[in-house]
Amino acid sequence: MARIVVVTSGKGGVGKTTTSAAFAAGLARAGHRTAVVDFDVGLRNLDLIMGCERRVVYDFVNVINGEANLNQALIRDKRTQGLSILPASQTRDKDALTFEGVQAVLEGLAEDHDYIVCDSPAGIERGAHLAMYFADDALVVTNPEVSSVRDSDRVLGLLSSKTRRAEQGEDPVQEHLIITRYVPERVGKGEMLSVEDVGEILSIDLLGVIPESSAVLNASNSGVPVILEEQTDAGQAYDDVVARYLGQQREHRFITEKKGLFGRLFKG
């Protein structure tokens, strides 16, 4: 039985696709058969972030419409064994994803995968709703910034009411917070909400903090999930996220200021 993980946020541009790619690659690297599914119909981008854009032949909607089977549409990742990508369709038809279609595809994937990572589109429309509906776990990606935190809270409300688990009265979707683009120096100066502030407002379990890092853009430029850039701060932070998700204890890193001599003298 596969576990379904939705990567969601409400707000756009906070790092859902970066997180989906890194998290899925991390699970696969840990030996779990993992499929990562792009739910952003019309704005396909996971393929680019994963570096497999030239290998897309069929997509999610083709499978739903019976124009291709899952095996034809799934792209096997060349770097990480056990990792497959199901790309989104570029159709402009907003209703291309159907409830039954999504359910059938997820059931198909569940047969030979351990984890299914659903990369949600921004917003709270159909695509976002379907991405979260069947989820067992949710990674709520949040920037330490007012609009992102507010949207995340809105999404938490939907997770607890508009999902299969909520509707059928099962155990609720397990919610995990991932704070991205974190700059400890700015937090120190009182210019940015701290991990504690965001945690206090959203009051869900903190899975990890990803620092603002040039490594993220570098990785997306070259189409490599940033978790595979093992020497980088963001890569290591995502590695911690996956390890914690899988039950390991890891200290939070990259959440305190790197202090130079000058900083130490003047801030104590």
Binding site: V149, G190, L193, I201, L265, G268
Partner: protein, 84 residues
């Protein structure tokens, strides 16, 4: 705290302002979505009625449903302006 902090004027940082604003708006939005679907419309109607008699602010009326055992209590809170 560094010694220079003693010389800095007490000034609210932008992050603490952000936190306060978020706490207020998030609490309000959670209140709105946890209640029955008709609550926002009910709140707007009550506000209209009150405004026929008294000039009150947009946020002068708060409607909440609280669960107490087997009962649901509809709590209505109206803040009237100070009389001059």
């Amino acid at each position: 705290m560094g010694f220079l902090d003693y010389f800095r004027a007490e000034k609210k940082t932008s992050a603490s302002l952000a936190k306060e604003r978020l706490q207020v708006i998030v609490a309000r939005e959670r209140g709105a979505r946890s209640g029955p679907d008709y609550l926002p419309a009910l709140q707007a109607d009550i506000l209209d009625v009150i405004r026929r008699y008294v000039a009150v602010d947009e946020d002068a009326v708060r409607v909440q449903v609280e669960r107490e055992g087997d009962y649901e209590v509809l709590e209505l809170n109206v803040v009237l302006p100070d009389e001059d």
